[in-house]
């Protein structure tokens, strides 16, 4: 849980470059359908990573991030399909909305922790879901909003994949930089002991507010480009299931590892596609997978891998 290692080892950089390289050439070997899945993994990986800022680095578990993510998706689809705005401007507005929404969530949640934080973010997310469901004139109610909104430059599915890959690399770099910054260290301090932080002069709620809002900003980035990917949004995008699934991605990958989010997203999305999508069977499979992970690798896949590597290194 001590966070991303600050090692500037050439090995680490090499691994990251190799993975990126595989990501770049992947479309030449994959089917259109598989490239779609890979794009989806990258988008939800970014969402899971934004949650990891809170869960792994701040010790606060949010169940409201699906709503923040989906709010951004709604705004982008609404702006392009209903207001005829440029998709690029719509993306900016979507991200701005998510950030403001996160700031509102944060104002209400920063004075709580533990299960109260969880329940409060859950409740706030439910409110957003309720609004999306009921405010039919704007959100289209249960039917949601649909439209081919992806800009021309990105209309080819491979180009779009590469664009999202670059975006995910940028977001990962940004989040990594954020959690390792002097401010990011204060979040880890709050995770470990907020009473000690207060006595050292930190305004703990203010730090949580900034951390939550930044996390919401990154969730909003993911949500805005999800609109380009999906060309459709409905209340299920802001529903609790969305929050839970993306939180599970972060946990399955390993909280506090950042990169684990992409592994968790791959695992869940691959599984989801094996098990004929959103049926009741999917919910059970999800539950069983999560239970197995919690039993055999509570530190998540990447966390487990790191622990094993350390164990191996200590033996030699």
């Amino acid at each position: 849980m001590s966070g991303v290692s600050r090692s500037k080892s050439p090995m680490g950089a090499l691994v990251v470059l190799a993975i990126l390289a595989v990501g770049v050439i992947a479309p030449f070997f994959l089917s259109r359908y598989q490239i779609g899945l890979a794009t989806q993994i990258l988008i939800f990986g970014m969402l899971a990573m934004s949650i990891d800022i809170l869960v792994g680095f701040t010790g606060r578990t949010s169940l409201g991030h699906g709503a923040i993510f989906g709010a951004s998706t709604y705004v982008v689809l609404y702006c392009v399909t209903q207001s005829g705005l440029s998709p690029y401007l719509a993306v900016l507005l979507g991200i701005a909305t998510a950030t403001v929404l996160a700031a509102i969530f944060a104002l209400l949640a920063v004075r709580t922790n533990g299960v109260y934080f969880l329940l409060l973010t859950l409740a706030l997310g439910m409110i957003v879901w309720g609004i999306c469901l009921r405010w039919t004139q704007v959100t289209g109610g249960e039917n949601g909003l649909r439209g081919d909104i992806r800009p021309k430059a990105l209309s080819d599915y491979k180009d779009f994949y590469w664009f999202i890959l670059a975006l995910a690399a940028l977001v990962t770099f940004g989040i990594r930089r954020f959690v390792q910054s002097p401010f990011g260290l204060t979040l880890r301090g709050i995770r470990d002991s907020d009473s000690r932080m207060r006595s050292l002069g930190y305004n703990v709620p203010l730090h949580l507010f900034i951390g939550f809002t930044m996390s919401g900003f990154f969730a909003g980035v993911a949500g805005a480009f999800y609109a380009f990917f999906n060309n459709f949004v409905s209340p299920s995008t802001v529903a609790l299931t969305q929050s839970v699934e993306s939180l599970l991605m972060a946990i399955i990958g390993g909280v506090g590892t950042l990169y684990g989010s992409f592994i968790g997203a791959s695992a869940l999305i691959a599984l989801q596609n094996l098990v004929s999508s959103h049926t009741e069977r999917w919910q059970s499979v999800l539950g069983i997978t999560f239970t197995l992970i919690m039993i055999f690798a509570p530190e998540g896949i990447v966390g487990k891998f790191r622990a094993l590597r350390e164990k191996y290194a200590n033996k030699h």
Binding site: S181, L185, G189, R198
Partner: protein
């Protein structure tokens, strides 16, 4: 008379019907070393909590260097120069010693808001951290993760954290609690080595340890101030003997 660092007037902290601190008046001159002694449950830690803002007083006033801090939150009191250690070790367990120290150092610096800045330390900061670690007897331990440290070293880190930001008043809550005799003497040396101008309030059960370190002693009992005396006179005070031993006692 020396300048007064801290004044408590009629400070009380009530938890429901229990008055853990019950109308304490206290005045501590700047630069003084003061011990607060008293049996278990006397209200010593609660008094520290009232001074540092962890538990705001339910009655009375707390004035620090002329500022009325009675209603300030803990971080604003820290900003005025009040630092403390905790009776129950309260560190950042998953972080390294250096990261613990960095957090302690930046508590009052605007650098804590650098959202995307480099984590690297300036040489000046590095020097301050090494100096505080050396003062606390922890030189060369910066890379160790707290959970991997021995308990005694963790107690020393408690003190180092409170020291590195150069506070004006330091509250030590049983810094030697649970330590072996040799570790206690290390902690005693650390306290002896604190800068002259720093006001220090020390809670300590062990009279042998406390009395050798301080200028003046306050004894609390059941939330009230029982006796204030010079270290040389405290052992022979009948009231102190009574609360500590249950009956008069001659040393």
């Amino acid at each position: 008379m020396a300048e007064v660092a801290l004044t408590l007037s009629g400070v009380a902290v009530a938890f429901g019907a229990l008055r853990a601190v019950d109308g304490v008046d206290l005045s501590i001159p700047a630069g003084q070393r003061r011990a607060i002694i008293g049996p278990n449950g006397a209200g010593k830690t609660t008094l520290f909590n009232a001074i540092t803002g962890v538990v705001p007083p339910t009655e009375g006033r707390v004035v620090f260097e002329g500022h009325d801090i009675t209603n300030l939150p803990p971080h604003k009191r820290a900003a005025l120069g009040i630092a403390r250690t905790f009776q129950i070790t309260n560190l950042f367990p998953s972080l390294s010693v250096e990261e613990n120290m960095v957090l302690a150092l930046r508590g009052l610096s605007p650098q804590k808001f650098s959202l995307f800045g480099s984590p690297d330390l300036s040489t000046a900061d590095q020097d301050r951290i090494s100096r505080a670690l050396r003062l606390a007897g922890l030189a060369d331990r910066s890379a160790t993760v707290v959970t991997e440290m021995a308990y005694g070293d963790q107690r020393q880190l408690e003190i180092a954290l409170a020291l590195v930001a150069t506070p004006r008043m330091l509250l030590l809550d049983e810094p030697a609690a649970g330590l072996s005799p040799s570790e206690r003497s290390i902690v005693a040396d650390v306290i002896r080595g604190l800068p002259q101008e720093l006001t220090v309030i020390l809670i300590e059960h062990d009279m042998d340890l406390a009395l050798g370190l301080v200028d003046y002693v306050t004894c609390l009992h059941e939330g009230r101030l029982l006796v204030e005396a010079l270290p040389a006179d405290i052992r022979t005070d009948a009231r102190v003997q009574e609360v500590y031993l249950g009956k008069p006692h001659h040393a």
